[in-house]
């Protein structure tokens, strides 16, 4: 399926490739023992290696290597057991070395695939070109001083994985779905926390347009876009801009552009005097990275169940719809919560409904994550048990849930306290119904003369009289009996 964009002179195909920079989850930096935690005081997490003092030698952090290999395995990619670190040379104040240690011709991970779930329910494979390890740069603060930029090197030297897709994406929605899936995989693997606001995942977006079937057009790159929504906006805007230029008889200049989220537009970055010439060469401070087969196999054996496999299992084992399964596996924590609810043989479809509609609904309203849920999986399970053994009705269950969410109490405790147990005592319900019939002879006559619509009205009255506690099935049976 290819989404085409209609221009003034016919249809256009948008071609998108993404380079995602994902910060590796590790305690220490890629080549130094300084910490990686976010939000520390400026320059307090900097070693003399990160500050590029003379005579300092980089030593690679083994866990960062493991994280890159795990990610490669999670992307069904080829692991290169021989890879090389290169110096990418450029000058910028937040790069004290004057070069970034990166991988150029021989990255640690080669080609792979991500299966992307599109909004229309279809799934599509998107190619991964490569993944390589590199150092992050420091941070420049431009808005604290009108004349100067302030430099904080805390982030300098933190390990990044640059994950490059093939130009396989054809619309903003596909790009969004790809990022969502990639983020889920990284979070399942625990190799990147995927927190885009804190900058631990950022995307460079390459966009070009062409007539369907023609060779690729000239591309423009938007650097450092830091949310999925902005990536989609940048693509929409940029595709439109390029189509208009070409339709007006112009041509696209290959350039780096900046996406401005406030205006929702892209514009050229200040023209560089010099086209980038990074003069890559192998870093003489580092030997090639050689991985044994055992090293890779051990990591492969310890991989967690990833979203695609989990989704398939949820559909087969629990009989869930593709939609429900997708929603539940989107986050590892959500899937674990659901499995804890169904543990002990509770009905999976009911559990899925409650987790998706009631729990997610309440969490969203209060802007909470599943980890912050006031209702634990065991507690929600307890509520479902009360529903299953008919201790409470479905309507009451919703009220009990709201109360649980508010107070964190167990369902049984709330039912007991508030006397919400379902009335299944036929005698008690009969008494209530006889009273209603006696009080409303007109409606009773209407029913007897064939107007069965008033039956609903009687059920409503009976439920109201019992504060919703009567078993609705029993009410209907008794009504039919008494009015028939």
């Amino acid at each position: 399926m290819t989404a085409l964009v209609e221009g003034r002179t016919g249809e256009w195909e948008v071609v998108i490739g993404l380079e995602v920079h994902a910060q590796v989850v590790s305690q220490a930096k890629l080549f130094s023992g300084a910490p990686t935690a976010f939000g520390a005081e400026p320059n307090s997490q900097v070693s003399l290696i990160d500050a590029a003092m003379p005579g300092m030698l980089p030593v690679i952090n083994e866990e960062c290597v493991r994280q890159a290999v795990r990610t490669g395995l999670g992307l069904n990619a080829k692991i290169n057991r021989h890879s090389v670190f290169d110096r990418k040379n450029y000058f910028y104040p937040d790069l004290p070395q004057g070069y970034q240690i990166s991988q150029y011709k021989q990255p640690i991970v080669g080609e792979g695939t991500v299966t992307v779930d599109l909004p229309d329910g279809e799934a599509r494979d998107v190619g991964i070109e490569r993944l390589h390890l590199e150092q992050d740069a420091g941070k420049s603060v431009h808005d604290r001083d009108p004349r100067n930029s302030l430099i904080d090197l805390n982030r300098a030297g933190v390990a990044l994985m640059e994950i490059v897709s093939k130009p396989d994406l054809r619309s903003a929605d596909e790009a969004g779905a790809y990022l969502t899936k990639l983020r889920a995989i990284l979070r399942y693997l625990g190799t990147c926390d995927g927190n885009m606001e804190q900058g631990s995942m950022r995307a460079d977006v390459n966009v070009s347009v062409r007539r369907p079937g023609e060779p690729l057009g000239t591309r423009c790159e938007m650097k450092n876009v830091n949310s999925i929504r902005f990536v989609k906006q940048a693509i929409e805007y940029e595709a439109r801009r390029q189509i208009e230029i070409i339709e007006d008889g112009g041509s696209i200049a290959q350039e780096t552009r900046l996406f401005d989220p406030d205006r929702g537009e892209t514009r050229p970055m200040r023209a560089k005097e010099e086209a980038h010439d990074y003069r890559y060469f192998p870093d003489p401070d580092l030997l090639p990275l050689e991985l044994s087969e055992a090293f890779v196999d051990e990591l492969r054996a310890a991989l967690p169940e990833l979203p695609d496999v989990k989704k398939a299992r949820f559909m087969v084992d629990y009989g869930l719809s593709a939609y429900d399964a997708n929603v539940l596996v989107a986050e590892r924590e959500t899937a674990a919560f659901f499995e804890a609810v169904v543990a002990g043989g509770r009905d999976p479809k009911t559990a899925a409904n409650w987790v998706i509609s009631n729990l997610f609904g309440s969490l969203n309203r209060e802007d909470k994550t599943i980890a912050e849920s006031p209702v634990s999986a065991e507690q929600l399970g307890g509520l479902l048990d009360l529903l299953a053994d008919k201790t409470i009705s479905g309507r009451i269950a919703k009220d009990v849930f709201d109360e649980m969410f508010k107070t964190g109490k167990d369902s049984a405790e709330i039912v007991e306290e508030k006397g919400l147990k379902q009335i299944t005592d036929t005698g008690a319900i009969e008494t209530v119904i006889e009273q209603i019939i006696a009080d409303n002879p007109k409606q009773a006559d209407q029913y007897r003369s064939g107007n069965t619509k008033v039956a609903g009205w009687f059920t409503g009255q009976a439920m109201r009289a019992t504060q919703g506690k009567a078993n609705p099935q029993l009410v209907n049976e008794i009504l039919k009996d008494k009015l028939g």
Partner: protein, 95 residues
Amino acid sequence: MALDKQTVARVARLARIHTNDDQLDALARQLSNILGWIEQLREVDTDQTAPMTSVAEMTLAMREDRVTDGAYPEKVLANAPVRTDDFYTVPKVVE
């Protein structure tokens, strides 16, 4: 392979090495000589030889993922020509 003056000026600019115009001819000559020597080496047939990245017969040493360094902004900033609080301060760079 001979380098012209423009190329030498460009390489110098990329490396942030200041050069005066009257130095360029001499630099071009010297660098061309070095390149000529490298080109001579390239005549050796290395088709069957893997690139040598090091003379040491060892593999890359790795470190454990433990925090062992940092927490000394004073040391890090000791040589900073200008600072604001604990930030390095440089002339404005804006993209």
